[in-house]
């Protein structure tokens, strides 16, 4: 028989009150957990997409004829026929101060070609780098391995009725379709992709490229600096950070997060109030009991400890259940918030945080009632019947 066993027996034999306390706090914690894990899953999702995207810097010719958007990013003015970037200049990119942050430089040449009646965009790429960089490309068939092969974007394949293994004639030359891209929802769907030298020759653009993607594959890359550095070694081209796109998405995510924090705060406050009111009621109800404890020689601090022990136990349970409920809710909600399958992150730190949060809120909410209880005059307490 210790203080713990009194607390334990009280909770065990007064289940409904304990259930009420647990529930009040649990709802608060679950809300917080749901919102936090949702936003971290969404952040992770964006980061993941970003990493898959590979490139975070785009180099395009300076021009303002035609607006070309690539990968969902408007690149300012890029005309297919505008001045091209000299391929030999690209070596300079590797000489920027932050060159060690450059994971890959992927040049491509773009141009329209006629296939039968249709006009299609042909993109010549550095096959090794491009297919490595675009890890999210899922290809039915194989990637391009030589100059006589092409990979067709989803929409192109649809339009031309192309299948893996088909032969097509482009500008009088015959190519084999080695693979078809699964739908990406981006510009890539509209492309025929082949090797850079082949495309340059076919498009009559030997030695030039229309677009260069630079991948700086690190989480904390000084992309802004790198953009400036590249701009200075390659005058006359447009260098832009794809980060801007991510930034806008991150911004809306940030807004979601702020919003969820406010909601979570409100719900948690309500949870704390529930605990406070219930504890207050419990203490009033237990006035007599506390008088007995005091008469039997419990110090004020013992009474405090007893009550805080009970509320910690309740909070601990509420924290754990709240965490599990919150994670469950996240699993349920997440599929509606992203088009792709995003994994819920079972973060032990979040679990620990949830339990800690419940403990702090539960103990703060019951501290005052506990203090009141310990201050009761034992005779008054015993009298109240």
């Amino acid at each position: 028989m210790k203080l713990e066993s009194i607390a334990f027996n009280n909770l065990r034999r007064r289940k409904s009150r304990m259930a009420f306390l647990v529930l009040g706090l649990m709802i608060g914690v679950a809300t917080v957990v749901t919102l936090v894990s949702l936003s971290s899953a969404l952040t992770a999702d964006i980061q993941h997409k970003m990493e898959n995207y590979g490139a975070n810097i785009l180099i395009t010719p300076r021009s303002d004829n035609l607006s070309l958007s690539y990968g969902g990013i408007t690149l300012g003015g890029v005309s297919v026929d505008s001045t091209e970037i000299q391929q030999v200049d690209l070596e300079k990119i590797m000489m920027i101060p932050n060159n060690r942050n450059i994971a890959a430089v992927a040049p491509k040449v773009l141009g329209a070609v006629e296939i039968g009646q249709e006009r299609v965009m042909l993109m010549g790429v550095d096959i090794d780098k491009e297919f490595h960089l675009k890890r999210w490309w899922s290809i039915d068939g194989l990637a391009v391995t030589n100059d006589r092969q092409l990979v067709a974007g989803y929409a192109v394949a649809q339009k031309l009725g192309l299948q893996v293994g088909n032969k097509i004639t482009v500008a009088g030359e015959e190519f084999q379709i080695s693979g078809v891209l699964a739908k990406t929802g981006s510009q890539d769907d509209q492309l025929l992709i082949g090797s850079l030298p082949m495309a340059q020759q076919l498009l009559n653009k030997n030695g030039t490229v229309s677009l260069v993607e630079v991948a700086a594959l690190c989480s904390e890359c000084p992309v802004t600096d790198m953009v400036k550095q590249i701009g200075s070694v390659l005058p006359g081209v447009e260098v832009s950070a794809i980060q801007q796109v991510v930034k806008t998405r991150m911004h809306s995510l940030e807004q979601f997060r702020t919003f969820s924090l406010v909601i979570a705060g409100v719900v948690l406050l309500i949870g704390a109030l529930v605990v406070f009111v219930t504890m207050m009621g419990a203490v009033n109800e237990r006035t007599r009991e506390i008088g007995i404890f005091r008469a039997l020689g419990f110090r004020r601090s013992h009474v405090m400890r007893l009550i805080l022990m009970e509320s910690s136990a309740v909070s601990l349970l509420a924290g754990l259940l709240g965490f599990l409920t919150g994670m469950g809710a996240t699993e349920a909600i997440l599929p509606f918030m992203t088009e792709q399958e995003v994994k819920t992150l079972w973060d032990p730190a979040l679990g620990a945080g949830a339990i800690l949060l419940a403990l702090v809120v539960g103990c703060i909410a019951s501290f005052y009632p506990a203090l009141q209880a310990s201050r009761l005059d034992p005779t008054e307490a015993l009298r109240s019947l």
Partner: protein, 235 residues
């Protein structure tokens, strides 16, 4: 020096701007091993006196010294320690904790003591045996009869082997037969050397006391030792 000394105790309650003089100057000494009954009409200050002796309620004036300890010179935490070490309380309303079994209720005064839990169990078991409830250890209060609950309360008062037992109308809510059993139990304990101060307004149990303090309007109207009573009867 006597075991318990009250000197010039006054207690004034101020409730709703009305002053109630519950005790109006009580000075009395109680010897170790005594079985003292405190009697008197309702409202005469019996419970107040017992609470003050129990260190539960500050007197307005005067001092209580138990075993050389001036209770109201101690701070409230120390007074709690005093209660734990020196006193066993038995209340009229039993005051058992409803969610604890008989055994757990008995162990309550030990809950904050640093004793091995096996030893606590043994102590509880032995006092329960002594009050004849060894077989009811695992029952919750609401599964026990009034008399049994009072025995549990007495066992709880005894478990700590306190020098002084304070009982406020322990038979107040029991029928005559059960009252008698409880009084016999207390009497046996007293014979074994236990000092007991008991408040009652039940004249029938008077014969068990070896000293009776009669309160009236916050004052001791009569202080009768059994011996004197017997002499009085013979004379």
């Amino acid at each position: 020096m006597s075991f318990v000394q009250f000197s010039n105790l006054h207690k004034v309650y101020n409730s709703d701007a009305v002053e109630v003089k519950a005790l109006d100057g009580i000075s009395v000494e109680i010897e170790e091993g005594a079985f003292v009954g405190v009697m008197g009409p309702s409202g005469s200050g019996k419970s107040t006196m017992l609470s003050i002796l129990g260190g539960l309620c500050h007197p307005t004036e005067g001092a209580v010294v138990v075993d050389g300890i001036d209770l109201y010179q101690l701070n409230s935490e120390k007074r709690a320690d005093f209660r734990r070490e020196y006193l066993g309380f038995v209340f009229q309303a039993f005051n058992l904790i409803p969610y604890l079994t008989a055994e757990e209720n008995v162990m309550l005064p030990l809950a904050v003591k640093k004793i091995h839990s096996r030893q606590k169990k043994e102590m509880a078991h032995s006092v329960l045996q002594r009050v004849g409830l060894g077989h009811r250890a695992g029952h919750l209060p609401n599964q026990l009869s009034g008399g049994e609950q009072e025995r549990v309360a007495i066992a709880r008062a005894l478990v700590n082997e306190p020098p002084l037992i304070l009982a406020d109308e322990p038979t107040g809510s029991l029928d005559t037969g059960t009252s008698r059993e409880i009084m016999q139990l207390l009497s046996v304990l007293n014979k074994e050397g236990q000092t007991i101060v008991m408040v009652t307004h039940n004249d029938e149990v008077r014969s068990y006391f070896d000293r009776t303090l009669l309160l009236r309007d916050g004052l001791i109207a009569k202080d009768v030792c059994k011996r004197e009573e017997l002499y009085a009867r013979v004379g």
